[in-house]
Amino acid sequence: MKALVSVKRVVDYNVRIQVKSDGSGVVTDGVKHSMNPFDEIAMEEAVRLKEKGKITEIVAVTIGGDKSEETLRTALAFGADRAIHIKEGGEVQPLTAAKAFAAVLKKEGAQLFIAGKQAIDDDANQTGQMVAALLDIAQATFASKVEVDGNKAVVTREVDAGLETIEVDLPAVITTDLRLNEPRYLKLPDIMKAKKKPIDATTFADLGVTPGAGFKVTKTAPPPTRSKGIVVKTVDELVAALKAKGLL
C-alpha cells in the first residue's frame, strides 16, 4: 500500500513574523523556512506505518518554486521513498493545491493521503478536506492516533469536546494534529542518503490542473500589541483587579 504525504515549505515557526510595511503580506526574504510542522508529523506517521509494515511505499509531494526541493529532501531524509515536485512558483490557494494533490493521488493509486491539519503560514485548514471532497473519499481530520488495518483506518480525532474515534474505508485522507506523534531527529546519514533519492518534477499543466483564485488577500496587518501586564501581590488584589475589569 502506498501513502502520499504533502509537505509545504513555510516560514519557520521560530521566526518572528514581520508584516511588510505596505500591508501586502509578510516578509519572507532572507527568512528561515522549513517544513510545515504538521507535515513533519504527517511524515513521521507515514514512516511509523511503514516501519509497522502497514504501508510499503511513501511518496512525498510539494508545490512550490526551486527552493521547495529542500523540503522534499527533508521528507526523503525522514524516510520517503521518492518525491514529486510540482514546480509552481506563484501563490497557490487551497483549492488549487487540493486539485493537484487529488490528481497525483489518482495517478499514483495511493490509498492514503496524509497532510497536516493546516499549514502555519496561511492557517487555512482546507486542503485535506478538499482533496477528500474532490475524490469523493473518506476523511479523518485532526488525527491524534492512527491505526491502519487492511483497507480500513481507525483514527482518533481531537474535537472540541474531547476525543472522537472513527473508522474510515481506504482510500482516505488523514490530517494530522499536534499530538499525533513527535517527529524524530533527522540523522545526518539519512540526510546524506536523501540527496541521492529521486525527485520527479511535474507542473499543474502536466497534471491537468488549472490554477484558480478563489479569493484575494486585501490586507495583512500585525496583531495589536498586548499592553503591559501588572504585578499583583496577593490573591485579593488579583480578584479586585479582575472585578474592576468586569471579568469576575
Binding site: N14, R16, S21, K32, Y185, K187, L188, P189
Partner: protein
C-alpha cells in the same frame, strides 16, 4: 558510554558555514575543476540553516569576492547597496558630538567601492554557489570534537542528539556521526570552541601576543521610507564609552541598508575594566544620542543579536596549521580591526587554505600533514599586507584611548601607509582587565523607554533563539562554586551584565548572604556570541556547541 557511530570519509571537511568556510569550499571545488580532478568537500554548520548564526555589520569590501567569483553580479550576489556616504563622529556626551572633517578620516575608514550588506544573506548565496559546485552542506549539525589520533586531526565528530539534561539517552537518541577527512578546515568564527582547544593542544599561540576581543551588539530597524538613505554609513567613537580614557573602549556603527532598513550597533572592547559595565545597557542608551536617534525615530526594531569580534590582528595570530588541519577566518583571527572588517579577510584566508589543500592533495598527499603551504601563501598575499599595516591600531587604542590612539593611527595610516617602523604589543588578556567591584563605581543605567531602548528579554526574543530544553547545559562551569564563591564577592559576578542575552542570573534576595544565593544559567537564551567564554575573570565558563540547530535564527543579519 561507547556507541556505534556512522562514519563518512571526505577529502576535506569544513567546520562552519561563514564567509571563511564557504569561500574555502567553493575554492576547493574550483581548483578541482581546473585540475580535472575530484575533491569531496563537506561543510557542517551548527545553525539551523546557513546564515542563521551569522551576525555582522556589514560594510563589505568585495576584494576577495571579486577573486572568487569575478562574475558575482551576474550570479545575483546580494550586494545591492553601494556605500553612498561616510560620516564619522566623536561622541562627547549624551547630547554632543563632533563630526570628523573628511580630510582627517584615516584611509582605512574610507568606504568607496564597498557595499552595505547582510553577511548572513551573502553566506546564503555563497552556500548556493558551493552546492552548485558540488559541495555538501549540512546545517543543523555542530562539530563537537576534533577527532585526534596519534596527534593528527582526522576530522570531526558531530554532536549527539537526544541526550537529556542529566546526560542520559532519550528515546530519540541519535549518535553524532564521524566525518573524517584528509584535511579539516576550522572556520567557526571568533572564539571557535574547537579552534580554542586546538590552539591549546598544539600550542599554536606560543609565539603570539594574547588574543583580544570585543562584543558587538546589533539591531535591525525598519524606518519610515522618507527617513531612509540607502548606503549611508555612520561610524562613531566615544560616549557612552571612553573617548580619552582607556578603561572602556569601543565604537559604533549605523548603516542604511535596503528595504527601509537601518542597522545600528555598538562594539565594546572586552578589555573594559569596570565589572559593573553592561555592554547591552550601553548600547540601549547609545541609541538616544541625537545623532543616532534621528535615524531611528518613528521606526520599529525588528531584530536583535550579538557576537564577539576577534581583534588582536597580526600580533595575536596563532600558527595557522597543525597536523591534518588549519584555522581560517576569525577562528584564526584574520579580522582587520582598524576597519572592523573581517568578512573579506575571512574569505581570503579560506581561499588561500583551499589552494594549499588542493595543491597538496593533487600532488599525492594522503593528508594529516602540517600544511605549511597555507602559511606561505598567507605571507605572500595582500591579506598579510593588509593585516600588517593595521597591526598597531588596536594597541594604540588600548594604550591611548580612542581620540589620541585614533590620531596616532591617522598618522600611521596616512603618512606611513600603515608601516610605522615598529610594532607595539598589548600583553594583557581581556579576562584579566577587570578591577575589583569594591574599587569600581556602580553604573546606573536609564530605564528603557520602549521606543528607542528596550530590556534584555524582549531583545533576546527578537533573535528568535531557541534550544531544545531537555539537553545538557552547553555553558559548562569547570568549577561550579566559582560564580557565587569568587566572582560574586570580587567582581559582583559580571556575567549577569556582559551576557547580552540574560543567560546568567544570580538569584536570591538583595541583602541575602552569598550562601543563600544561587547562580542560574538560562542556557536556552544563548545567542552564541561567546563573550562569557572570553571575559569570565576565572576563565571558568566553557562554551560548547549545544544540540545542532539550536541558537539564534537571524534573518538579514
Amino acid at each position: 558510554m561507547s556507541v556505534e557511530r556512522d562514519v563518512m570519509e571526505y577529502d576535506v571537511v569544513v567546520v562552519g558555514a561563514g564567509p571563511a568556510g564557504l569561500a574555502a569550499a567553493c575554492r576547493l571545488k574550483q581548483k578541482a575543476a581546473e585540475a580535472g580532478k575530484e575533491l569531496n568537500v563537506c561543510v557542517v554548520e551548527k545553525g539551523s540553516e546557513v546564515g542563521a548564526h551569522i551576525l555582522s555589520g556589514a560594510v563589505f569590501e568585495p576584494r576577495a569576492l571579486n577573486e572568487l567569483f569575478p562574475d558575482w553580479k551576474a550570479r545575483g550576489a546580494p550586494l545591492n547597496v553601494p556605500v553612498a556616504g561616510d560620516e564619522i563622529y566623536f561622541f562627547r556626551s549624551p547630547e554632543a558630538a563632533f563630526k570628523m572633517p573628511n580630510v582627517f578620516v584615516p584611509k582605512t575608514m574610507h568606504n568607496e567601492g564597498n557595499y552595505v550588506i547582510s553577511l548572513g544573506n551573502l553566506c546564503r548565496w555563497l552556500a548556493k554557489q558551493a552546492e552548485d559546485l558540488g559541495v555538501e552542506i549540512y546545517p543543523g549539525f555542530a562539530a563537537q570534537h576534533a577527532i585526534v589520533e596519534d596527534g593528527i586531526v582526522k576530522g570531526v565528530q558531530i554532536g549527539d542528539m537526544g541526550i537529556n539534561r542529566e546526560g542520559e539517552h532519550k528515546d530519540d537518541f541519535a549518535p553524532g556521526m564521524e566525518l573524517r577527512a584528509k584535511y579539516t578546515l576550522f572556520a567557526e568564527g571568533c572564539r571557535g570552541h574547537l579552534g580554542k582547544q586546538l590552539i591549546a593542544q598544539y600550542q599554536l599561540d606560543k609565539d603570539a601576543d594574547p588574543q583580544h576581543y570585543a562584543i558587538g551588539i546589533k539591531e535591525i530597524w525598519t524606518v519610515p521610507p522618507e527617513q531612509h538613505k540607502p548606503g549611508l554609513v555612520v561610524h562613531g567613537a566615544g560616549w557612552p564609552l571612553n573617548l580619552l580614557g582607556t578603561d572602556a573602549l569601543g565604537g559604533s556603527f549605523l548603516y542604511h541598508f535596503e528595504n527601509s532598513q537601518v542597522v545600528v550597533g555598538l562594539i565594546v572592547d572586552l578589555s573594559y575594566t569596570n565589572p559593573y559595565l553592561s555592554p547591552f545597557d550601553e548600547f540601549q542608551r547609545f541609541k538616544h544620542h541625537p545623532v543616532i536617534r534621528k535615524h531611528l525615530e518613528g521606526g520599529t526594531r525588528v531584530s536583535y543579536g550579538a557576537r564577539a569580534i576577534v581583534k588582536g590582528g597580526l600580533n595575536s595570530l596563532p600558527k595557522l596549521a597543525f597536523p591534518g588541519g588549519v584555522l581560517i577566518g576569525d577562528d584564526a583571527g584574520m579580522l582587520n580591526f582598524a576597519k572592523i572588517k573581517g568578512s573579506h579577510t575571512a574569505m581570503k584566508s579560506g581561499m588561500l587554505a583551499a589552494e594549499a589543500v588542493a595543491e597538496a592533495i593533487f600532488a599525492g598527499d594522503e593528508g594529516g600533514k602540517v600544511l605549511n603551504g597555507y602559511a606561505d601563501k598567507f605571507k605572500a598575499s595582500w591579506l598579510h599586507d593588509e593585516l600588517y599595516r593595521s597591526r598597531n591600531f588596536g594597541v594604540f587604542l588600548h594604550k591611548f584611548g580612542s581620540l589620541i590612539g585614533g590620531a596616532i593611527n591617522y598618522v600611521e595610516q596616512n603618512w606611513f601607509g600603515g608601516k610605522f617602523p615598529f610594532t607595539v604589543h598589548d600583553l594583557k588578556p581581556d579576562y584579566k582587565t577587570l578591577k575589583l567591584a569594591s574599587e569600581s563605581q556602580k553604573i546606573e543605567y536609564p530605564k528603557p523607554d520602549g521606543k528607542l531602548s528596550f530590556d534584555k528579554l524582549s531583545s533576546v526574543f527578537l533573535s528568535s533563539t531557541n534550544h531544545e530544553e531537555d539537553q545538557p547545559v552547553h555553558l559548562q562551569l569547570k568549577d561550579p562554586s566559582i560564580p557565587i564563591g569568587k566572582n560574586l564577592p570580587l567582581y559582583a559576578e559580571p556575567a549577569q551584565r556582559y551576557c547580552p542575552a540574560g543567560v546568567y542570573e544570580v538569584v536570591g534576595d538583595e541583602g541575602a548572604k552569598p550562601s543563600e544565593k544561587r547562580f542560574q544559567i538560562n542556557a536556552q537564551n544563548c545567542v552564541h556570541c561567546k563573550t562569557c567564554d572570553i571575559k569570565d575573570p576565572a576563565q571558568n565558563i566553557n562554551w560548547v556547541a549545544p544540540e545542532g540547530g539550536g541558537g539564534p535564527n537571524y534573518a538579514n543579519m
